[in-house]
Symmetry: C2
Subunit: 540 residues, 2 copies
């Protein structure tokens, strides 16, 4: 039965690939497979428009491949060179080795993991025109994840590897009701506590809909029984009064709650004005963020830093990795591939049956190759998010004085987000991310700022939400991904298109070539996709 | 300035107490202080009606006392006997010792902590008519918190002690969108994934309100600009189409998501029928649970089990505790109190200037005393929740096959809730709470069941949500608080009333005498309240 199902899947997959012979027809097929279209569910979804595009449905039964789909030992006698030792490259090496392929990873730097990285005291951050040493105290809980920093609970393949490798996980919080929302355009520029905004939005929506129902304005939609039931629902939804009015709710907290917590009960805070909540789409979009499929609770993080995952992968494939091997030329040759690279100043060359290239398109476009024009064009034009983050060590004033344990505050200022640590609760000091810019002009501007300017700007803007930043946030250290060597961008934002199909014996992978761009799970899925194409070649 | 503020607070407090001379006038005063009225924010709030009563506002500036309010050394030369070594009693001993009082705790059992308790392999659970040995494997992550099991982020005093004592905390999840909601009355009795219910409820509410707005039914409430803005808000709120229709959303997940996670994208799941979501208040009330002030994210738990807090308190006051001291008589005597107790079969007696009694009313009413009739009557009639829990060791099928990491599933069956562990993610086995009954007839019935019946009933009902329970949930162990010696109930549900005032030299404390009944923070607040009354006596 299982093999029947597998054969069915394989047939469907090959049929789809068979249809995908190039140009717009292929692009449509890829879109139909749900590969080439974004649901605003990647790491950049938070910056995406509020209205996510709905992709066309895939053919029934069509799914991405998974390791169990491939025939055992299919790769015996075949060799693969994998370019890049990030999550996509290491997943490829791990799974292809299991299938019998002889795998070699060429990694440009002295460490594996790619954008999966954690910065601790003493670590060095190099950008193309600067270098920083992290001055955090040496402490297991004082770390900064400049790249991926959270894992949705349904990213099952990445989580499966965590389980397999024994990477301990803990909860990551997106939706902390004690965190702040701040728009320079609303409420006189005063930050608002999230619980207040959320409760009052629900209260107002419920009040207005109840009013319409009670005015019989929706009788064409609702039966008499429906009306009774929806009024009950709305009373609970918005915490309305018996007469379906909204005059505030304990859900919003109590006056002075921010620094007095549970002592006060009684007087409710005044509801925020609906007109203020409506005036700026910021208020609704920020509330809806944690409803997105890839940002819903439960979110997870590795205990001790995101690089626990990269290090665990590396332990699986370390014997396959050649470090400090900078690729200089990628060539399809008769019956295989030839890769030239520079290894600590020495020109080297490697031949293999296949190449799986996970090098970011931003970097790849500067490496000599003999790609087909279609692939070269796609690489040349692939857009990346100019995201960056900056972190500080600080006394945990957010916990001690504001009851904020983990989670995210939002602002319309360039810094966009403040992330509070989800680990080490109750300790004296923590690492707070003072800015997380997803890209766009602000992200590019951040990347182009001098290091001290990044710090100063962030402290100034973050101080609007937390005045403590000025005196207490120290050791600022930033990573602007457009300027990180061998990355030159945070995550891909173009449609994968032609790069989902091989160019001769060269196959492409990386988070940018997945349905989950910007996510580590996307890197894994892209690896599975590339492996699947290779396996299809080697399957009689 | 600080002492001015303190004097102001003290004057206001004494004025309030002065007004509180008994009977209904005092009850009104207490209500006005926000002490005697519940906001459905205690541990039982989840079972409370959806519409929380709003208490009258307290006098301006009126707040509960906190340790910094008391004069240093006020207690030197005075003695206090504290009855009960739970969180209320230990908080009292700790803070009064700091003020100079000579404190003695009489604890009926051989351990401190009271309902703050964690059960691990080898532990014994005694009820009045049964005894169980916990058969869980020996493992730091295999534990069961039968009493308090979560801490709201704004329960600042309890969290302050955790910080002071070095109790490590981690995130506890209430709102897991991968968990299940199940009503026997809806959807043919099929459990629904929380994300689906939440997304479709929001979608339908947004669609209906947008319809009313577009039909100009709310023009008396909304200006033209408001209408444009609220439509934008609703499109985001509900993930509506461009024409404000709701035909499903990626927020609800994708077909087959429960066990396939991130592989599928494209076809949306069909929205749940609005009529089904409306038919049973269960659907809305369960969604609203995590919006309540005391259940909002971020929730916390101690790393390693809730008893890490009790043990940390105990370390502070262990020199003050007499264990296995069962109180037999509580007497106001001239100028002080006399407490008789039985210590491992030996009748003993202790005299002190004051007694602070934290014994649960259910237990206290059977101990001889010379209380005033008013206090005795209040003790005799204080009602408690008949809550209980049962836990099992199991393979983590909920993680491995359903992407559920922590959180709670809800059912209309008697078991009410299933709690998944918020710790040890990715390990082979975990402890799952198969039932958490808050009280009522089902809670009493559970308490009166034979131990094996509790197990069998829970497995049967939990299997409706997770068929794996039948074969995989083992070592079931239950705690029905009405049957636990020296507790005889889960938490107080009556109004504190007269028990907030002293009876001679006897003062009362315990979670049941707080605004946060059922919470450990309530136990702390009740201790502060009792201390404040004693300090007022000793303040010239």
């Amino acid at each position: 039965m299982a093999s029947d199902r597998k054969d069915m899947r394989r047939r469907e997959f090959l049929t789809a690939i068979g249809r995908a012979v190039g140009g717009s027809a292929m692009l449509r097929t890829m879109a139909a497979m749900g590969i080439g279209t974004s649901l605003a569910s990647c790491g950049s979804s938070s910056a995406a428009p509020a209205i996510a595009p709905i992709p066309p449905p895939p053919p029934p039964g069509m799914q991405s491949p998974r390791p169990g789909d491939w025939p055992p030992n299919v790769g015996i006698g075949k060799s693969v060179v994998i370019l890049g030792g990030g999550i996509a490259g290491m997943t490829t090496a791990l799974e292809m080795t299991r299938l019998g392929y002889a795998c070699t990873i060429l990694e440009a730097t002295a460490r594996a993991g790619g954008r999966n990285r954690t910065i601790r005291g003493g670590d060095v951050v190099n950008e193309t025109d600067s270098s920083q040493v992290c001055m955090f105290d040496f402490d297991n809980d004082l770390y900064f994840n400049p790249g991926p920093a959270r894992i949705p609970h349904h990213h099952e393949f990445l989580l499966g590897y965590c389980r397999e490798f024994g990477v301990a996980l803990e909860t990551f919080t997106n939706d902390n009701r004690a965190a702040l929302l701040h728009s320079t355009n609303s409420f006189g520029g005063q930050p608002q506590i999230a619980r207040h905004v959320i409760a009052d939005t629900r209260g107002n929506i419920a009040r207005l809909l109840a009013l319409a129902v009670n005015q019989n304005a929706l009788d064409q939609e609702l039966s008499a029984a429906d009306k009774t039931n929806i009024l009950n629902l709305l009373r609970s939804f918005g915490d309305l009064s018996g007469s379906f009015d909204y005059t505030g709710t304990s859900r919003a907290g109590f006056p002075g709650q921010e620094d007095t917590g549970s002592r006060q009960r009684g007087e409710l805070v005044n509801p925020l004005q609906l007109q203020e909540l409506l005036r700026d789409t910021f208020w609704q979009n920020r509330q809806d963020f944690a409803h997105g499929l890839d940002q819903q609770s439960t979110m997870l993080q590795p205990v001790g830093g995101m690089d626990r995952i990269g290090i665990a992968f590396e332990a699986q494939v370390v014997q396959n990795i050649i470090y400090e091997a900078q690729v200089t030329n990628i060539q399809n040759i008769a019956g295989g591939v030839q890769i030239n690279y520079d290894r600590i100043g020495n020109p080297m060359s490697l031949n293999a049956d296949y190449c799986i290239c996970t090098i970011p398109a931003t970097v790849l476009r500067s490496i000599a190759n003999n790609f087909a024009a279609s692939h070269r064009n796609a690489v040349d034009n692939f857009a990346y998010a100019a995201a960056g983050k900056i972190a500080f060590q600080s006394r945990r004033f957010w916990e001690q004085e504001h009851n904020i344990y983990g989670g995210i505050s939002w602002t319309t200022q360039d810094i966009t987000q403040i992330w509070y640590p989800n680990n080490g609760f109750g300790q004296a000091n923590g690492v707070v991310v003072g800015a997380y810019l997803f890209g766009g002009p602000a992200g590019n501007n951040f990347a182009n700022q001098a290091l001290q300017t990044r710090i100063d700007t962030t402290v100034t803007q973050a101080s609007v939400l937390h005045p403590e930043f000025g005196a207490e946030a120290i050791h600022g250290i930033s990573v602007a991904w457009p300027k990180v060597p061998f990355q030159l961008g945070a995550w891909g934002v173009s449609d994968p298109g032609i790069l989902l199909t091989p160019d001769g014996n060269i196959f492409f992978a990386g988070e940018h070539l997945s349905i989950l761009r910007g996510w580590q799970e996307g890197a894994v899925l892209s690896a599975y996709h590339a492996i699947d194409l290779v396996v299809a070649r080697d399957t009689p």
